[in-house]
């Protein structure tokens, strides 16, 4: 009988404690939060123009490619390929700038070319300067070499 009495006391205490802690059915409130739009950047293709430049008496000229600077975040990868066999002659990058336009001067010496009458394509690809894996569409422009008596020149368009 004494044991039963103690058991009753313990049970009573447990029930009391549970009652103090209240119900497990709690109130709640929900709210949705919808943000505005998150939009990723997009790199557009360049629209380059080609101009014959310089040269003594019109010879030993170079070509100057110019296009609008699409974003100060962009840099531009360029590559020159020989049309005849697709071999890459040269390549490089024009660093990002805040200028309104970008220029790329190409000379025969820069391209290490020694033969005239070579048709070339110059491709220009915008890319993010801090994430070069993101690239825009490439655009190509045609140039060619001209072999003169005084040396090798370049010109816009095909030979």
């Amino acid at each position: 009988m004494r044991r039963l009495g103690w058991l009753a006391v313990v049970l009573g205490a447990v029930v009391g404690l549970l009652a103090v802690r209240g119900s497990l059915a709690a109130y709640d409130d929900q709210a949705g939060l919808t943000t505005g739009t998150v939009t990723a950047a997009k790199l557009d293709p360049v629209n380059a123009t080609c101009a014959n430049k310089g040269g003594l008496l019109g010879i030993l000229q170079t070509v100057e490619l110019t296009w609008a600077n699409l974003s100060p975040n962009d840099q531009y990868a360029w590559a020159v390929q020989r049309v005849s066999d697709g071999a890459q002659v040269s390549s490089g990058t024009v660093a990002a700038s805040t200028g309104a336009s970008v220029t790329l001067d190409l000379s025969a010496s820069l391209l290490s070319l020694s033969l005239g009458g070579v048709n070339l394509t110059v491709s220009i690809t915008p890319q993010l300067s801090a994430a070069t894996g993101w690239t825009g569409p490439s655009r190509t422009i045609q140039v060619s070499t001209v072999n003169l008596l005084v040396g090798l020149s370049m010109q816009c368009g095909k030979a």
Partner: protein
Amino acid sequence: MAEAGRHAAVGVSRRGFGPTLAALGALLVLLVGLSPRSSFALWNDTSTMTGGTIHAGSMDLRLATTLAQGAQGAGTDYAASDITVTNLTPGESYAFPVTVTDAGDADFSLTATVVQAAGWSFTADNPVTVQLFTGAAKTTDTTYPVQQGCDGSPLTAAPVAVAGSPQAVVPPTRVGHGQGLALCLVVAMSSSAGNGNQGQHGALSFAVTATQVTS
């Protein structure tokens, strides 16, 4: 004589029980009369006490960004149109202040999930991430590549990719009633986000829940 004496003794004994029984009977009557159970006819009195009205408390989760506080009332949404990012690129992160206020009558435990809202067009590898921190948003960095952050501690161990199914971004976090909790939301793009995400867009939909703390 011996016989006569024996009868006499018996006679004396019989005479002695009478008073004893009478005394016991009187005592019994007295005890019964004193007992509270003695009568079924009780006097009584009743009165009614009317207490004041008991109003149930309520939970009231309110949200605010740089816009006015909103989401008052159960299940009300908050349009955080100020949380907007344009020209997001891989590796960039933008921070925004978000304040959660417990305007109800009890402490609550805050949880939240995030999911892609309708119109999401980013690639399936879920390149957009979010992470919530305590503290204030640090938004001073505005030059590419933007790397904004927060001055508090992260609520999740790592940024959470925003997916098509809800992802937990706030583990149970206690907020005292009448108090506000300043949080900082970082929206970022994974540095490995693919080219296919260029020009894509989407909004983030958070489901914020406040559950009353009962202990």
